[in-house]
């Protein structure tokens, strides 16, 4: 009698564990698809497309972007490739470190470059879809190779983020101005191949 009861209890417990495991993995895989407040959503709520907006400095009070570095001034620019490729560029200043990173709609950093990779005093890249890249490559002039750094975005929408280190408390305004000087704007293909 007791053995039968034990067996039933063990069976119930096993069922609970199996359901728990299934729930756990289902929830884990669903979170990225259903998360409404992901980084892109938070950025898009602050910045209209193609407009550079400075992110609030990290502090205990601004709680939108966890793990943002308080020693870094940041600005974002949301892009949309449905009307053509988008050129992003940032000028270099006196900061000891500056970078541009490219974030997809799904929160993946698909490219990043630092001021070490800067060309003639600026960091610049052309963001394209796979189709736009094919069009551009087909129109490339072999004798006159492009100087553009072309980056394929895995999603049509996304955002560019500029980070500039503030060397010290007194340099926060300089760094913020340098970060906000970043821009992203449409560059229709018809003009790109002129």
């Amino acid at each position: 009698m007791k053995a039968a009861w034990l067996a039933r209890a063990a069976y119930s417990l096993a069922l609970v564990v199996v359901i728990a495991a299934l729930t756990h993995f289902a929830a884990l895989l669903m979170i990225p698809a259903v998360a409404e407040r992901d980084a892109f959503a938070r950025v898009a709520a602050l910045a209209p497309p193609f407009k550079t907006v400075a992110l609030p400095a990290a502090s205990p009070k601004s709680r939108d972007f966890p793990y943002a570095d308080p020693a870094v001034a940041a600005a974002v620019c949301v892009y949309d490739l449905s009307a053509g490729p988008v050129r992003a560029h940032a000028a270099l200043g006196r900061a000891s470190f500056a970078s541009l990173s490219f974030h997809s709609r799904r929160g993946v950093v698909f490219y990043a470059l630092t001021d070490r990779a800067a060309n003639r005093g600026r960091m610049e890249a052309l963001i394209v879809t796979p189709e736009q890249l094919r069009t551009l490559v087909a129109r490339d002039d072999e004798d006159n190779p492009t100087e553009d750094l072309r980056i394929v975005s895995p999603t049509t929408q996304g955002f560019v983020m500029a980070r500039v280190l503030t060397g010290g408390a007194g340099e926060a305004a300089d760094a913020a101005a340098q970060a906000a000087a970043m821009s992203c704007g449409l560059e229709p293909i018809t003009e790109a191949d002129k």
Binding site: S12, P66, A71, A74
Partner: protein, 191 residues
Amino acid sequence: MTTVLKALVIAVAGLGLGLWATRAALSSAGIAADRLGQWRIEARAGAADADPYTRARVERDGEIPLGLGEGLRLTTREDSDGHALDPACVYRFGPQAPPARFWTLEAVDREGFPLENAAERYALRSSEILRQPDGGFAVFVSPRAHAGNWLPVSGSRPFALALRLYDPALSGAAVGGERASAPSIVRERCG
């Protein structure tokens, strides 16, 4: 009737346990990460092939991760002896950091936001710390002002330290031989 009730209890218990485990896994520090000494390296937070735990945590929290080409964030919730970091204690961080062009050290709460402090000093930069002639340094993490390099902490809840390496010589994948440069966090005294 009792069978239906039992099935219901089992289903609810299973669902509850599953959701609880998911929540616990996403807020704990221990899953699927490269480590440097006691430090957890968040190298893959922004990667397309990040593990599902990292993916879910980043999407849910809204973090804008550093790209691999930019820098790395290292995080720890414990001192070098494995005790949780307590804001009532004085810790000594050093004597070196992993090689990078620039680094910053920040005290954060469990959600990743800076700790409240009157001086509004939320992070220390590698460029502003005092060093010994051999390049070694000590940063004191404590609730009250400390001579030398001081990073203030506050509150009563356990905190974490975030060390960000910009342009690191260390990549997320190749940390095996770099243990020697993992900075230590030694508890000096408490209260």
